[in-house]
């Protein structure tokens, strides 16, 4: 069969903040750019970010990028690459002003400047008093940013392929990435998009867990594509559990609630974070707060008839603050818990939220792989930004407000690097038939009309196993069993079949393709967690409770082939300032 081909200078896969920021940079430089998204762009999960984006604007109190850099590295438990962190924190103010210029309706201070609120893990003067660094549009900052970026792309005439699902990367024999095979969901027909560069911006993979804050679309598609292309995933054992998900359901309640003065209480009404983090209290890092909640519940101080959650108290903030600064979470509490936070506390429990790990890149967004001589080199033509990537600016634990920053900073950086690449690479390389055939096999495999296991059952089993074997607290035994269980699910995938083989808008087919990615990424996650014998950031090993910088201050790399682990050093040298050496991490 002949597959239709479209040619562009640059292909962007994913239309969240990272993809759209990169596309905007490219379109404004008159590059021919195509954005492929499996949902209409404003449905991308950036839309659900609530609290804000960090930048040391110093609009509320003294602040500077260097303090932000320190907090980010401390928050990462010293696993972040310090050159990338310096780059991000230095660029932050510029990027936020740029967002403001592009129309983002930030909340305002009385003097007309952008409103900033305190968030977890923020300090002035390298670990001093609480800072207020998170620029917010009420509690809908992600919505405000995503819509503005999409709108700017309309103005810049970016070409969108809405509701197209990316199947796999197309590479030639030298490993140069030439574009991707995509599926038009409406028609069920495949199409090849040829491009001189391909950027993966497909977001995170919270859907490997049963209870999570993520949208259904967060299935790690770009990570799966990278793994199948022979590229490793980095630091996948570090999965962030957000402290305040709606108990039993998982919807996100922003850290901004605690930034505005809300706090957590146990069944005795005790403000228990004072015991775990005497200085920062409820605004300690997310990993710290999540573990505290877990322990409170485990030790019998949980709330409710089953003692299985704690309460987030904010009624003391007053109706005005809640209505003007936190209207979205008020809506959500009322819709999902019948609780109006103006009058009552919200029942909350930690929930799977953010993938710190991902496709390894440098600070230009280029995907990098290890070489034979212990170094690393870029994969020609391939870029990745945002939650699907690992630069790494978040290390072992991301600070709230740094993910919206990550996507715009590195979306722009990747866009700029691609523009330079295009200047020096003016022609498309010939497409590789074998690579297209391999990608097509991924589609045709689901044409098999025999009986087999259902996608729903396999996904439910995967999510249950990941929750039970790769959660907040981990041990060798639990993780080893987890590896076996996820391997068993991968083996069962071979016998999975679709019941619906129609072409037009067949969402069952898309879900099957997504599940393949979920399984591969879950396997990377549990393997990486099993291998790392220390506790660092979000990775808490009961059997290895301490951080071990001697042995483990290094990045994990998981390869799909032979399910192999490898490691690479943390880049501890910043661009211009002194290194922040690892210290005990207390809040």
């Amino acid at each position: 069969m002949t597959i239709p081909i479209r040619k562009f200078d640059s292909l962007v896969i994913g239309a969240g903040g990272g993809g759209l920021r990169a596309a905007l940079q490219l379109a404004k430089a008159d590059a021919k750019v195509a954005v492929v998204s499996k949902v209409f762009p404003t449905r991308s999960h950036t839309v659900a970010a609530q609290g804000g984006v960090n930048a040391a604007l110093a609009n509320v109190m003294p602040d500077n990028w260097h303090w932000h850099m320190y907090d980010t590295i401390k928050g990462s438990d010293y696993l972040a690459d310090q050159d990338a962190v310096e780059y991000m924190c230095r660029a932050a103010s510029h990027l936020v002003y740029e967002l403001e210029h592009s129309g983002v309706p930030f909340s305002r201070l009385d003097n007309g400047k952008i409103y900033q609120r305190p968030f977890g893990g923020q300090s002035q003067n390298f670990g001093g008093a609480q800072a207020a660094r998170t620029c917010a549009a009420a509690d809908r900052t992600g919505h405000a940013i995503l819509h503005s970026l999409y709108q700017q792309n309309i103005s810049a005439k970016t070409h969108f392929f809405d509701e197209f699902y990316a199947i796999d990367l197309i590479k030639d024999k030298e490993g140069v990435v030439l574009g991707a095979l995509v599926l038009e969901i409406e028609t069920g027909e495949p199409m090849i998009i040829e491009a001189k560069t391909t950027l993966l911006a497909t977001g995170g993979v919270g859907r490997i867990y049963r209870t999570n804050t993520n949208a259904q679309i967060n299935t790690g598609d770009g990570m799966g594509m990278a793994l199948r292309a022979g590229i490793p995933l980095q630091d996948m054992e570090f999965f962030q559990f957000h402290p305040t998900g709606i108990a039993g359901k998982g919807m996100l309640i922003t850290e901004g609630v605690r930034g505005e003065g809300g706090y957590l209480v146990n069944k005795d009404g005790e403000r228990f974070m004072e015991r775990y983090a005497p200085n920062a209290k409820d605004l300690a890092s997310r990993d710290v707060v999540s573990r505290a909640i877990y322990l409170e519940v485990k030790e019998g101080r949980g709330c409710g008839p089953n003692g299985d959650h704690v309460m987030l108290k904010l009624d003391h903030l007053g109706a005005d603050v809640i209505k003007s600064r936190l209207p979205g979470i008020r809506d959500m509490s009322r819709t999902f818990m019948n609780v109006d936070p103006i009058e009552e506390s919200i029942p909350i429990y930690p929930t799977a939220h953010y993938t710190m790990g991902g496709i390894p890149t440098n600070r230009f967004g280029q995907v990098v792989v290890p070489t034979d001589h212990a170094g690393e080199e870029p994969v020609t033509g391939l870029y990745a930004v945002g939650e699907c990537a690992c630069v790494s600016v978040h290390g072992a634990n991301r600070l709230g407000g740094n993910s919206l920053l990550d996507i715009v900073v590195f979306g722009r950086a990747a866009g700029n690097h691609i523009i330079d690449y295009l200047k020096n690479n003016r022609y498309h390389k010939p497409i590789c038939e074998e690579s297209v055939e391999n990608a097509m096999k991924r589609l045709s495999r689901w044409e098999d009309t025999s009986e087999g296991e259902s996608i729903d059952q396999l996904r439910a089993d995967l999510q249950r196993d990941m929750e039970e074997h790769c959660g907040v607290f981990r041990t060798k035994e639990i993780l080893e069993e987890g590896v076996k269980k996820i391997q068993a699910i991968k083996a069962r995938m071979v016998n999975a079949r679709l019941k619906d083989h129609s072409k037009v808008f067949n969402t069952a087919r898309v879900e099957a393709l997504e599940l393949e990615n979920l399984v591969e990424v879950a396997l990377a996650t549990v393997h990486s967690a099993c291998a790392r014998e220390e506790s660092r950031g979000a990775h808490s090993r009961v059997d290895f409770p301490d951080r071990d910088d001697q042995k483990w201050m290094k990045h994990s790399l998981f390869f799909m082939e032979e399910e192999r682990m490898d490691y690479k050093p943390v880049r501890t040298k910043p661009l211009t300032v002194d290194t922040f050496p690892p210290k005990a991490r207390v809040y």
Partner: protein, 235 residues
């Protein structure tokens, strides 16, 4: 609980039909939860959904005669305690159906793009923010929060009749969002673009848009405000 759902697959069906399903439900369940259970029974049912919390706007559909988001509509909102009653689910009205509950929103998006839904500001200073007082910023509250779910425009009779010429409530709400933004410099241009008998003035204040908006926004009022600005602009 019983559900009667609009089904149409252009590959196999000559015309659409309603199909009945029965699923076990709980009192705290939303319509989306029931749809997922139905899809487990019958994987051929297609609908859009994503965030599951009312912010992405994917799952607008017509539920018991009203356009709503399935993920934030509680079954008990529809039937109270009478879980034995039947809920009817159809695609958003007036748009071409691609399959089952999935409609083609091309015209809706076209109208959105037509109002230049982006900030137009001349002479920006590059290294600092535009100043905007809290009062100025408040003027776009109730306008910027739109999630483009299309519940409003597809409940509007004027949009059903003229989806190619009338901008529709969602696009006009977006126009109002920029007309009321103190940072925007294109007021005259935006109003001129809305002149003529259709683009703005096909709105007859039927108010369906405001009644169905799942985010509690008021496109009808926004359109009224644009009409007032238009009068001043023309004079």
């Amino acid at each position: 609980m019983k559900f009667s759902i609009y089904r149409y697959n252009p590959e196999t069906d000559d015309k659409p039909y309603m199909k009945d399903y029965e699923v076990e439900v709980t009192k705290d369940m939303k319509v989306l939860g029931a749809l997922k259970k139905i899809k487990e029974q019958d994987p051929t049912l297609s609908y859009r959904s994503s965030c599951g919390e009312g912010v992405c706007g994917s799952d607008g559909m017509n539920i018991n005669g009203t356009n709503r988001l399935s993920c934030v509509t509680a079954l008990t909102d529809l039937v109270g305690d009478k879980l034995e009653s039947t809920i009817e689910i159809c695609p958003l009205p007036g748009m071409p159906v691609i399959r089952d509950l999935v409609v083609d929103l091309s015209q809706f998006y076209h109208q959105y793009r037509s109002v230049k839904p982006y900030l137009i500001a001349h002479d920006q200073e590059t290294e600092i923010e535009h100043l905007q007082t809290p009062e100025e910023r408040e003027k776009i509250d109730g306008l910027y929060e739109c999630i483009l779910c299309a519940c409003c425009s597809t409940s509007c009779p004027s949009f059903w009749w003229n989806p190619d010429k009338f901008r529709g409530p969602a696009a006009l709400l977006q126009a109002a969002r920029f007309l009321n933004d103190s940072r925007d410099d294109a007021t005259a241009e935006r109003l001129t673009d809305l002149e003529g008998p259709y683009r703005l003035f096909r709105c007859h204040s039927i108010m369906n848009c405001t009644n169905v908006c799942p985010k509690g926004l008021n496109p009808s009022k926004a359109i009224g405000d644009i009409k007032k600005m238009m009068v001043k602009h023309v004079i």
